[in-house]
């Protein structure tokens, strides 16, 4: 576990010795030791539930370890809560930002760090400090902008500024690129490298091996609560890391045969949607998905993908006006005055983007969830619960849902197994068209491989699949054709073999390769500046 000589000469910024933490019978962290040299970027990878988040929460003082010691700069840091973690020089950027949306940047930065009863002196001091930090680390954000008007990438910079303002020397980032465009992610990486070059230490938690390879100096791998390896990044490979994470060999590419597209199953033309606030979310979508092919829709989240899936699934948001025409297997599909039940009867399966809010009733048992949306299909006055239970048990067997307990509430399964319950239900209903939204978000590598294989099998059985994902790798691996969505429009279609991540990234940011700018409408408030840094 010791690092090679080159790094060992640098004094450690942080050192963990024998950290253990249990929640009831679950050992979330077991005897973890880790040395992070100062002035390095240190990656921590592991599947969901491997204990990364618990470890970081201990480091930031949210949990107290059952055993073990945390040393910052060779001294026991005495971290008991987040205040003492901040005093020890640790800053944290959470996956879900902890910002007050209607405060300005400077107000958010000083929140909790105000000095004195009057606000004005703090604000002016903070504004000066922010300008200095911005110049030093390429963290340009207007200090007086209201946070909710900023793009996601800029909001993340505010979080980093918050940590730096509190004089953090060690910055922990939890899955920082999940919500960013490739270009924004590149900018973030430049910032992180800048921080490292000025002596700061960065700990990066991610499940994207590409990012680990790109910017980290050392990488630690966690599996089932244990630290299984710490290696210099340049001496390892994504394949090796994946194997360490899962504990067995993993196929990072999806093996699939050439698609044999048949007749058009879904034909959309001129699909428009105006939401209740009058904002045009979809601005004329034309798409065709054929039997036996996977059409992938790439794009940064919030560009209309959710609205497209919801409309096709039969539950557009309240007050939305939908126009255009849709045909399913040649028959006109009504776009209004319908519901999700009618869509299922028409043969549309739906793996929703948010399994916890939509795909499952979290308090229901697994077997109850296996008939969600199809609970009236038996047509009897009373539901045959025994039959549903035994069918659920068989289905869980086929899709390797663990633990194999139909009585367990959905909320007590891990993310990957929850998703398998949803995928099993929708695939086994034998849809002619399957809508798939973010199929592997928050799902561990082993389950990703499994879900991808099942989707390919369904395609090969002749179903049409419309896949929406913000993971470009996933789109590239699964799709037979790729359409890129930006601001409610399809920016173009590409074949996966004839395009590159860079080209798709450009389309995702709204740059039109043909030179014709996209129709200008009111942009999504969440994504006001997605193109910044690209053009």
């Amino acid at each position: 576990m010791a690092l090679p000589g080159t790094q060992a000469t640098a004094p450690p910024a942080i050192e963990l010795r024998g950290i253990s933490k249990a929640f009831g019978p679950v050992q979330a962290n077991r005897d973890i030791s880790l040395v992070v040299p100062a002035g390095t970027i240190h990656g921590i990878v592991g599947e969901n539930g491997a204990g990364k988040s618990t470890l970081m929460s201990i480091l930031y003082g949210f949990y107290r370890p059952d055993a073990g010691q945390i040393l910052v700069g060779r001294r026991d840091a005495g971290i008991t809560d987040s205040q003492s973690a901040i005093r020890a020089g640790i800053g944290m950027v959470f996956q879900h930002f902890k910002l007050v949306p209607n405060f300005t940047v400077v107000e958010n930065v000083i929140l909790g760090a105000e000095d004195g009863a009057l606000l004005a002196p703090s604000v002016s001091r903070a504004r000066k400090e922010l300008r200095r930090l911005a110049a030093e680390y390429q963290l340009d954000v207007n200090p007086d902008a209201v946070v909710e008007t900023l793009s996601v990438g800029h909001q993340q910079r505010v979080e980093i500024l918050k940590a730096l303002y509190r004089q953090a020397d060690i910055l922990i980032l939890d899955e920082p690129t999940g919500v960013l465009t490739p270009a924004e992610a590149d900018h973030l990486f430049r910032i992180l490298k800048g921080l490292r070059d000025r002596g700061k230490t960065v700990i990066l938690i991610t499940h994207k091996l590409r990012e680990i390879m790109e910017i980290t100096d050392n990488t630690s791998v966690m599996r089932r609560g244990e630290m299984v390896a710490t290696v210099p990044t340049r001496e390892t490979s994504p394949e090796q890391l994946a194997e360490l994470m899962v504990g067995r060999k993993v196929l990072l590419r999806v093996d699939k045969a050439q698609a044999a597209p048949g007749t058009p199953i879904l034909e959309l033309s001129g699909l428009r949607m105006v939401d209740r606030a009058g904002v045009e979310r979809l601005r004329g979508i034309d798409l065709t998905v054929r039997a036996g092919e996977i059409l992938g829709i790439a794009g940064v989240s919030g560009n209309g993908q959710t609205q497209l899936l919801d409309i096709l699934g039969g539950y557009p948001e309240a007050g939305a006006q939908v126009t255009g025409t849709a045909r399913l297997a040649g028959r006109t599909l009504p776009l209004s005055g319908t519901d999700a039940r009618a869509r299922r009867h028409a043969g549309i399966g739906n793996i929703p983007e948010d399994r916890q809010a939509e795909g499952l009733v979290m308090d229901f048992s697994a077997w109850e969830n296996t008939v969600l949306g199809r609970h009236r299909d038996a047509g009897t006055a009373l539901m045959d619960n025994d039959a549903i239970r035994s069918r659920a048990a068989a289905q869980m067997e086929r899709f390797d849902v663990r633990p194999r307990d139909p009585e367990l509430a959905a909320k007590n399964f891990s993310g990957g197994n929850q998703q398998k319950i949803v995928v099993a239900r929708e695939i086994e209903s034998r849809p002619i068209l399957l809508l798939v939204g973010q199929p592997t978000r928050g799902v561990d590598i082993g389950a990703i491989e499994f879900i991808h294989r099942r989707l390919i099998e369904l395609r090969d059985a002749g179903a049409a699949i419309l896949l929406v994902s913000v993971e470009l790798d996933e789109i590239m691996a699964l799709s037979d054709r790729i359409a890129v969505m930006f601001d409610g429009c399809i920016m173009g279609e590409r074949l996966p073999d004839a395009t590159s991540a860079a080209e798709l990234g450009l389309l995702m940011a709204g740059a039109s390769p043909s030179g014709i700018p996209p129709e200008q409408g009111q942009p999504d408030p969440d994504e006001r500046e997605p193109a910044k840094g690209v053009i």
Partner: protein, 359 residues
Amino acid sequence: MTRLPRWADLVLVPLISLALAFAISALVILSIGQNPIEALKVMVTGALGSSYGWGYTLYYATNFIFTGLAVAVAAHAGLFNIGAEGQASLGGLGVALVALSLPWPHWGIALPAAMIGAALFGALWAFIPAILQAKRGSHIVITTIMFNFLAAALLNWLLVNVLRPVGSMDPASAAFPATTQLPHLTDMAAAVGIEWGRNTPANISFLIALAACGLVWLLIWRTPLGYEIRAFGRSERAALYAGIRPTRIIVIAMMISGGLAGLMAINNVMGEAGRLLLNSAEGAGFIGIAVALMGRNHPVGIVLAALLFGFLYQGGAELALWTAIPRELIVVIQALVILLTGALDNMVRMPLARLFGAR
């Protein structure tokens, strides 16, 4: 983080809450110079020590079973129906109109008709808040509270100006025909040769309440509609995804809830009073909230909780009759039970969960 075992959740938590409520009540009784042990004795003998006491306890429990079921059905749909009181009052109006409208030859015919009237009026009174919630987003808690006041005002006006027989000084309807009198449990026991609960109001409605428990269980856990109600109550977005229409579920669940609350009137109006009185529900609608909370919205729990509150009602009345403990204090004891079993549930649950987690 830690979860309680099911038996602890269902049995231990309510029992500890109850013990706490009684302990605090004992302190209050001590502080006014009375003997709490004596008081408890009077309550237990008065409510459970004789078939007479049981006759009253079961009568009150019948009311609470109906209103408890009403609150529970709405709660499964994620709706907090505070309007059971008003819906039960309107149910009384339904019963009175049915009973007074025709010369019923026999109670066996009058009862089903009265049940339809009671449930229909209760359901319609719940329909308006339901449709306002579903279509306009008016919060059901606010509207059902307001509809309690509207119900009281409406019945006040009807009883004074419309239903009061000419020449009567009493704001009440005419007495129902004797043929609509429901058989009391006393009569039914006597029919099989047992002398039980003479001069008590417990009547056949108690059995109907138990049957209603069975039907509600069947509805909630065995029918597709119950599945939809529960799914909607736990996750509105998952329900939408599943093709469950919110408007439909809100309206249906609230009308079933209001219907159950209205059905209570066959007990108090038809079974006991034999005419429609002012304020006939006497707060049973509000007790129903505590009963549903304590019974975990499950019919079996609701029956047990309703029996407890029936005991508190009858025992409390005995206490006022035989001891120097003032009537108001009985309300305090009942309030403590509601507070500790309902509102302060987590006060007991969380230390208990820690205890179980530490093992």
